[in-house]
């Protein structure tokens, strides 16, 4: 076996000051005019990656896991040469294709067929190659009827299928994939997973970043867990995932501070300061399981007494579908006065019948008497709902099977032979 990717002592530093302030020449000029001899204010330095080393053998399929902001995306961007490391280096053998997004470079005005050529070329395919595979790509995407229609008329699902279809026909030696399986309908996800399995069968090296532990466990023989910019654990998939999941029950805070959230709307007379996810007995809840009770506690601070406000909360799926939009006003609650100072309101949910996955929460406070928004936050927090035996079976049920579930049962008494086979027996 020979090494396909060798990562040596990779570090990447970002200077936050540089990102924030220097996009306007004017700012720099003003600063240097005001204080021509003073040195520039020291910038805040963030190490997105620090001394990361590993190597991947030819034909290995490696999953990269870790929380948001751990450095996974930075690592992938360096591996795919989009950005450069501050120190260290990467050596890769053979043709490397990276898929950080499905349908990179798609243009709304071009037809499906034109976009296949454009996207394929950007991903590193030759025109001859695209010509030869065109029919297969179109068939894989299942968009034969619309292939000469501009993709601005496509649904998001069709666009996704088309993008993945091109990528699936790349035939690189090394494939780098970021979370593309997280979207799409169930049938399409199965197609993607089997395409990935073909890649594995074909002896190709694959690096796969995902939050979908089920997919990582199915596809990868080895996993690398990145935490705070370094390799925390590297080994057989199952044991790495187990160690990673274990940190969720203690590590991640179930509360989010909101004071520093940027881009909020509203007058600011009263603002949310903090969100907490609690269990029914008011304990901070770090792991939220489908179907269990939950209390969302919303802390606020009022600068002045607020007359008759309404507190609101909206839950959306990651793709933006509204699951529930609720407020104290909708419940017919009248809050005559909120005195100045701090306090909280709670939304108590008896059983959170959401299928496992990530859900975004939007929050607002508005007035019931006039049309005035005090505070509005778009998706400041999200909640990951973990997998749990939902219908009493051991099947892995996640957001491929919908968004919500109801208390339900299948009755099999009506089957003619009478004797129903217990569901758990045919796993």
């Amino acid at each position: 076996m020979t090494a396909s990717i060798i990562v040596e002592d990779l570090s990447k530093r970002y200077e936050l000051g540089a990102l924030r302030h220097e996009t306007q020449l004017r700012d720099q000029l003003v600063r240097s005019l005001r204080a021509p001899f003073r040195r520039r204010t020291p910038k805040e330095i963030i190490w997105a990656l620090r001394n990361v080393s590993f190597s991947v053998e030819e034909g290995e399929v490696v999953g990269i896991i870790g929380r948001n902001g751990a450095g996974k995306s930075t690592l992938l961007k360096i591996l795919s040469k989009i950005t450069y490391p501050t120190s260290g280096r990467v050596r890769a053998h053979g043709r490397v294709a990276s898929l950080l997004e499905v349908g990179t470079g798609f243009h709304e005005e071009l037809t499906g067929r034109e976009n296949i050529f454009l996207n394929g070329s950007i991903l590193g395919m030759r025109k001859r190659e695209v010509d030869a595979k065109l029919d297969a790509i179109i068939a894989f995407a299942g968009v034969e009827r619309f292939i000469d229609t501009p993709i601005k008329r496509y649904s998001s699902g069709m666009r996704l299928r088309l993008g993945f279809a091109v990528a699936a026909h790349l035939e690189p030696d090394v494939l780098i994939v970021d979370e593309v399986l997280a979207v799409g309908d169930a049938g399409f996800q199965k197609k993607c997973i089997s395409a990935m399995e073909d890649l594995r069968g074909g002896g190709r090296t694959v690096l796969f970043v995902s939050h979908n532990m089920a997919a990582v466990e199915n596809l990868c023989s080895r996993a690398i867990w990145i935490a705070n910019g370094s390799v925390r654990l590297d080994g057989p998939t199952h044991s790495v995932i187990e160690a990673y999941m274990a940190t969720f029950s203690t590590g991640e805070s179930a509360a989010s501070e909101l004071s520093a959230v940027e881009g909020r709307r509203g007058g600011g007379e009263i603002r949310y300061t903090r969100v907490e996810f609690l269990s029914s007995d008011r304990e901070l809840q770090t792991l939220t399981r489908a179907g269990k009770g939950i209390v969302v506690r919303l802390h606020y601070r009022a600068r002045e007494p607020i007359e008759r406000p309404s507190f609101g909360l909206k839950i959306c799926t990651e793709l933006g579908t509204v699951v529930s939009d609720t407020s104290t006003w909708l419940h017919g609650l009248d809050i005559p006065l909120v005195p100045a100072g701090e306090g909280y309101v709670e939304l108590e949910i008896d059983s959170l019948n959401l299928l496992p996955g990530r859900y975004q929460f939007s929050l607002w406070i508005n007035s019931c008497v006039q049309s005035h928004l005090y505070d509005g936050l778009e998706n400041p927090v999200h909640l990951d709902i973990e997998e749990t035996p939902i219908y009493g079976s051991t099947r892995r049920i996640d957001n491929r099977y919908g968004v919500v579930f109801f208390p339900q049962r299948w009755r099999l008494e009506g089957i003619a032979s009478g004797a129903a086979v217990p569901v758990t027996a045919n796993r």
């Binding site: 990102l19 990179t104 071009l110 050529f117 454009l118």
Partner: protein, 259 residues
């Protein structure tokens, strides 16, 4: 450097597809389509002919004024329109830069080549005008592509510099229209170089487009052109290409981080 050139060469199909995308998209859902390539310089020419040719009686070196101004506008329109596209090519393709690697120079390159189709179309109209005004073709007509190539190199040089600066300072976006507007007056488009007092003429020669347009007209009409102006124009063009290319190469590593 050699490695970079061979990498760009291997990825040349991307340049083709990006330019093809720009061309296709430009005239989609436009009823007049590629006719716009002619309409833009044509209407400018009509306005110039009326105000500068008829009313102000600006001389045109014995060439009919419409032909005199249109011939310059063919190159100038390409220069001005394409420079703005090249200058914005990195920022407007930021979604590509942050998601996939390919030699970054292909983005300004594609914008510069994508504009050539318009130039070809408006040149065909220029040929029609030459026939209409019964200008006898000279063998020097064959030299016109040299000046077109020089314009492309100039657009690439200045454009790469502006595109790379634009990634960090969005001010560039507002500078480009301003630059091309001023350029319209400090380039002999409306007037011949000889229209200016002698002491200004050598300053005008520092503008590389002066040599391009003077040389282009000389090829078409056999008018006089000072070889020193041409040499100066090429020197400035190649210097700008070198500066633009070097600046682009030294900053391209951070494009994805700051765009």
């Amino acid at each position: 450097m050699g490695e970079w050139i061979s990498e760009v060469w291997r990825a040349r199909e991307i340049l083709y597809f990006l330019a093809w995308r720009d061309v296709k998209v430009r005239y989609k859902q436009a009823a007049l389509g590629v006719a716009w390539a002619v309409l833009q310089p044509l209407f400018t020419m009509i306005i110039f002919t009326f105000f500068f040719g008829r009313l102000a009686h600006i001389p045109s070196e014995g060439v009919p004024y419409p032909l005199f101004s249109y011939s310059a506008l063919v190159l100038w329109t390409y220069f001005a329109v394409t420079l703005s596209q090249v200058g914005n090519s990195l920022v407007s393709n930021s979604s590509l830069i942050t998601k996939i690697y390919f030699p970054r120079v292909l983005l300004p390159g594609a914008a510069a080549f994508g504009g050539l189709l318009d130039l070809v179309v408006s040149s065909v109209f220029l040929l029609g005008m030459l026939i209409y005004y019964r200008i006898t073709p000279r063998w020097t007509l064959l030299l016109t592509p040299v000046f077109v190539a020089q314009t492309v190199l100039l657009v690439l040089g200045v454009g790469m510099l502006l595109a790379a600066l634009n990634v960090r300072y969005r001010d560039v976006k507002y500078t480009i229209p301003f630059l091309t507007q001023i350029g319209l007056f400090v380039t002999p488009i409306i007037y011949p170089v000889t229209f200016l007092p002698h002491r200004f003429q050598s300053w005008l020669a520092l503008n590389p487009m002066t040599g391009v347009i003077d040389g282009f007209r000389a090829c078409l009409f056999g008018s006089h052109v000072d070889p020193a102006v041409l040499v100066c124009s090429w020197t400035v063009t190649l210097t700008l290409l070198l500066i633009g290319g070097l600046h682009f190469r030294t900053t391209e590593r951070v494009f994805a981080d700051i765009v």
